[in-house]
């Protein structure tokens, strides 16, 4: 096996394009999973099971099927229903939806960890239900779950290469494109592997630091 630094140099323009797409997918997928996961978690506390049951069933189904299958479904089946998105948009939606079924459990744990005395104090002060959630419960719950959410961001980062299968040119897609054009495989694959480590490892250190600060 020969290592060719020229191939690395030639790959870098592809690399930066791929990195931009990967980070974009990660950022948007994270935002969707954070927002949607919170919506699921709150709906699961609805007083009526006519809300809890469908939400519970749908999210359980999404959590129990592979992301890859969901990705194919959204990419090939949605257009038949007249819903056509770009490959990247489809990928972001799939990742965001899939991970929202995990973040909802994180939020649930965070909400349940808020002591019952906080609810009682809010009742004693006559705070409206909405205000109790936004001013008392969620600020405390979310503070506790920031590190757990961070871990899912890292997991999502490592799942972004799956978007290659629906033609998104993220890091792995760019590496494959370069390989097919230049018949050099080792260098681009190695470069993106190292890039994943260089992003994930500092991110996990950051999460550990946050954990020490936020979770008591």
């Amino acid at each position: 096996m020969n290592w060719d630094w020229n191939a690395v140099r030639d790959f870098m323009p592809y690399f930066w394009d791929g990195l931009a797409v990967s980070l974009q997918a990660l950022l948007l997928g994270s935002l969707i999973s954070f927002g949607l996961g919170l919506v699921w978690a709150l709906l699961m506390r609805a007083p009526t099971r006519w809300v809890r049951w469908p939400v519970g069933t749908v999210t359980e189904f999404v959590r129990d099927t592979p992301l890859l299958v969901q990705l194919f479904f959204l990419f090939y089946v949605l257009p038949e229903w007249g819903l056509t998105f770009s490959a990247l948009t489809t990928g972001v939606l799939a990742i965001g939806l899939h991970y929202s079924t995990y973040t909802m459990q994180v939020y649930r744990a965070g909400i349940e960890a808020v002591p019952v005395g906080q609810w009682e104090a809010a009742t004693a002060l006559n705070l409206p239900v909405r205000r109790t959630w936004t001013a008392v419960i969620l600020p405390q719950a979310i503070r506790r779950v920031v590190p757990a959410l961070g871990n899912y961001v890292i997991a999502m980062l490592k799942d972004t290469p799956i978007l290659m299968v629906i033609t998104v040119l993220e890091l792995l897609g760019q590496a494959r494109l370069f390989s097919q054009q230049h018949f050099q495989f080792t260098e681009p694959i190695t470069v993106i592997g190292v890039a994943f480590v260089l992003i994930s490892y500092p991110a996990s250190l950051l999460i550990r630091a946050l954990e020490r600060r936020l979770v008591r």
Partner: protein, 265 residues
């Protein structure tokens, strides 16, 4: 504190200011069970406006449950509860909210909001529930903090304070809503012994200088003797004896009361 607006409770703030001595709280045939355990057993009692009533008795005798029922933190299984002439269970949400405005509660575990400063703990409800302007609420909160001896802690986080300081903030927070009734649920039980006196002094001060009605569950018998107009002795979900503190502490009629007082004094 300005002379024309009493700091702690302002009778003019309520549509029908209660005449001192009128019945403010009434429980009729109230029964509360947790599983097979009956904590309140067909209980009747009433509290007159402006009075300080202390509930004493062994743990598990239902004292705290009465406060929790009045604060709507739990529901009775049977019986009716009336506050200022309005029935509480069952009641539409709107009426419950109106009744709750008349009642403040201080908890054993303080239950301050750790995500807010001391000042915002106190201003949060006056601003969002009573619609008080923020600067007015803050000015009042600072006066209340002064009253409880913590004027310098307005910007601190509750978790930075001692238990006694947290409990005094919780008292200020309850008073900020200008309640007619203050419910005190074993407010010194979670405190280190050296911090108890500071909290009780604040409460003595409030009892002496305001016409607020107090319902107090406590094991601090000297405090109960000092502030109470009436003492109720509970046992197994029933009031077994009641009367002025001099008589209950000095010459109890019931053997059970004598045993209880003998065990804790």
């Amino acid at each position: 504190m300005s002379a024309d607006t009493p700091l702690v409770n302002d009778p003019d703030a309520h549509a029908n200011p209660p005449v001192d001595g009128s019945e403010l709280i009434r429980l009729d045939h109230v029964t509360k069970r947790f599983g097979s355990n009956t904590v309140l057993d067909d209980l009747d009692f009433s509290v007159e406006s402006g009075k300080h009533v202390t509930l004493i008795g062994p743990s598990g005798s239902g004292k705290t449950t009465i406060l929790r029922l009045l604060m709507t933190l739990t529901k009775p299984d049977e019986g009716t509860i009336t506050v200022d002439g309005e029935q509480l269970f069952p009641a539409p949400e709107k009426r419950v909210r109106e009744i709750r405005k008349k009642i403040g509660m201080v908890f054993q575990q303080f239950n301050l909001f750790p995500n807010m400063t001391v000042l915002r703990n106190i201003t949060e409800a006056p601003v969002t529930v009573l619609g008080m302007p923020k600067d007015e609420a803050e000015a009042r909160a600072l006066e209340l903090l002064d009253l409880v001896g913590l004027a310098d802690k307005a910007d601190a986080r509750p978790t930075r304070l001692s238990g006694g300081q947290q409990q005094r903030v919780a008292i200020a927070r309850a008073l900020a809503m200008r309640p007619q009734v203050l419910l005190l649920d074993e407010v010194t039980s979670a405190l280190d012994p050296e911090l108890v006196a500071g909290v009780l002094d604040v409460l003595r001060d409030i009892a002496r200088t305001t016409d607020i009605t107090m319902l107090c569950v406590t094991h601090e018998m000297n405090f109960a003797r000092d502030i109470s107009d009436q003492v109720l002795m509970f046992d197994a979900g029933k009031v077994i004896e009641s009367g002025p503190p001099e008589r209950i502490f000095g010459d109890p009629e019931q053997q059970r009361t004598r045993e209880f007082l003998g065990a804790i004094l």
